[in-house]
Symmetry: C2
């Protein structure tokens, strides 16, 4: 909802995150039920009288409901440098939304036409029920007692949330990375309620090296003694050291090697002068990684990180729905599918989108694939707005 | 030296690591002097009367002096599975040497012809003076008081060591990864004493993403509270948690994504049954990484890891010797140069070897480059013995 009276051109203006409590428990793949469940959300644009113009945008591992506009709560705008993705992905409620370049009047997800809904995922730490929420059974934060989630659990929660809003059909479900997984899961779980999906820099199943990176990030958090088996809430300590390393690992996998080279090269912190130190950064890239780690731990909950990371490694359409065969898993999809991948993305490489495209086409499903030649790696989905916009607009208008 | 009376065919047989104390302090790039310095070493084959058949082999980050044969100390042979590189690289004094497939009678570095010398690097933890050695000033392990080293410091130590052995010239200096950096450094520091260098899966300067991975590994160690600022010796605690994560990061960078995919795919630990756990491995690759981490921390000193990692990120021939220009840095090289790189090595990609080749050729220096098309990533230099052997033998015989 637009709150500001004079939004900047192309901006949805000042926005505020809202909260909604689901009326029923959410049934989870692990066999448990979760209740109560609160969902944090934002909306942009206006719902049409026929309620047929809704686009659900889904965030990635460390995102939140604040996808567009300027937060009314903490209105300072985030700076957006060349590698601003991690910052926007991170500003989480403050400043510009994480996909502000894609959502707004005249933008890819055009709020002059569509009613765009964004929720914080189940398991999140930005307003939706997650491991840092209070467990009604104990009166204390769930911590490690929070259930281990799947992407399907997150999608079922979004479905229940939209039910409360009285929204039955979705014109589109869109997202990048883990967000794209949700779009795919929507098309399979609710084939009759999704007109189209926009799957960007995503996959039907993370490749084994991606599983390994995620495992390393989680190990780093859980090996930090301050994690305390996940019961760090209210102890005055949190696994910042391990979270920092997890973020550094993630960050390097989000960028391409050439992009890192272009931005930092092998430049030293102090001209050509080595300081012969193990503990202080010698290279600019080392200093940058520390900065990324420090700013991340200030804003993100470690148990939510573990939950999101686990869910995205579990995601495997062929295993879940196809008895091992991707084509089988996609048999009932009726949504038109737009796939966008980026040439330099080695965490979610184009090959996975090509697999999806081939499987959908072999089933005679309407699908489009665009592999954008861009140098910034996985973060392209947050950075390459200019080139994604015409593709998305044309696809949605079809 | 061959100790066993009946070595297996192609094996140098049973060997024993020896130790030598240098007569003089070693001057270091950081400005300090180090004394005393002990060097752990092994030799294979026989020194010719003219002392003109010496090959120095140089180990990588986590290696040691035990490059070939079977250790006489702990004679159990290490198993060598398809991904045995990390184990051999790791057996460190036990079982087969880390380059046993390349050193021995009739092998690439043929001990019927050459006298092969292998030392544990300065800063190491397998017999050569390093951070876990006793600081004579305090009577306790150096820990963080050990000087921060460069590859040149390691090479000057090898030079001083060979002086004691009465070896002036080297027929070849050979190594992979950090070992290849030493070979290059030898050719520049001692151009009149090196006939040839064999530089495998190495570089003139690690690319920025490699600098980042190394920074992450070191951060992981230093953020472990058990590191205690480096003074963990004699405390009964050591930064095993951080070292484990560092090793996992390293390990994934040593392998190619396709190789990891071929070996593990997305196979679950328990068939197709998710257990919905954050703390236990769900995927085989997760279990494998834990195993790698656990076995590594049992055998390697954290401060040595930091020292080696820092030295290999510092290494930059253009900065050190060329005022920024690689060609300038190589001007005085007189050694014949053999460069071998592997197509799937993304930590030390072929591009760096191509840079070296182009620079040497532009100077009219004798150089050969072979890019071997092989799938196992950086670890190829430890695994692809069969294809490296004829190249190395032909080069050395020339």
């Amino acid at each position: 909802m637009v709150i500001g009276s004079a939004p900047a051109a192309g901006s949805v203006g000042e926005v505020r995150t809202r909260y909604l409590d689901l009326p029923d428990p959410v049934r989870l793949d692990c066999g448990r039920e979760l209740s109560p469940v609160r969902v944090a959300y934002e909306t942009y644009g206006a719902l049409s009288p026929r309620r047929d113009n809704v686009i659900l945008v889904c965030h990635a591992l460390s995102g939140d409901a604040h996808a567009a506009g300027v937060s009314a709560v903490r209105p300072e705008a985030s700076t957006r440098d060349g590698f601003g993705a991690e910052d926007r992905d991170g500003t989480a409620g403050a400043g510009l939304g994480w996909w502000d370049g894609m959502i707004g009047p005249g933008k890819a997800f055009d709020t002059d036409r569509y009613f765009v809904v964004s929720t914080n995922l189940l398991g999140g730490c930005r307003g939706t029920t997650g491991p840092s929420s209070v467990d009604p059974a104990t009166g204390r934060p769930y911590g490690p007692d929070f259930p281990v989630l799947t992407v399907a659990d997150m999608v079922r929660t979004q479905r229940a949330f939209l039910d409360v809003l009285g929204i039955d059909r979705l014109a589109a479900v869109a997202g990048g990375s883990l967000g794209g997984m949700q779009a795919l899961e929507w098309a399979i779980l609710y084939p009759d309620q999704v007109d189209s999906i926009v799957v960007i820099a995503s996959t039907h199943a993370l490749h084994p090296q991606g599983v390994a990176w995620n495992a390393i990030a989680r190990e780093s958090i859980m090996r930090d003694p301050a994690w305390q088996g996940g019961r760090y809430h209210d102890t005055g300590r949190s696994p910042d050291a391990g979270m920092g390393v997890a973020r550094m690992v993630g960050h390097v996998t989000y960028l391409s090697a050439p992009a890192l080279g272009e931005k930092f090269g092998r430049r030293l912190q102090f001209a050509d002068d080595l300081r012969y130190t193990l503990t202080e950064p010698e290279f600019e890239v080392e200093n940058y990684l520390r900065h990324q780690a420090d700013s991340f731990v200030r804003r993100f909950d470690a148990n939510t990180y573990l939950t999101m990371s686990r869910a995205l490694t579990y995601f495997d359409l062929a295993r879940q729905y196809g008895g091992g065969a991707l084509t089988q898993a996609l048999t009932d999809v009726s949504a038109r599918t737009l796939l966008i991948a980026f040439s330099s993305d080695w965490l979610y490489p184009p090959a996975a989108s090509e697999d999806l495209y081939a499987a959908l086409r072999s089933l005679g499903k309407p699908a489009e694939l665009h592999v954008i030649d861009a140098p910034y790696g996985h973060d392209c989905f947050l950075l390459e707005e200019r080139r994604q916009t015409p593709i998305v607009r044309r696809f949605l208008a079809a």
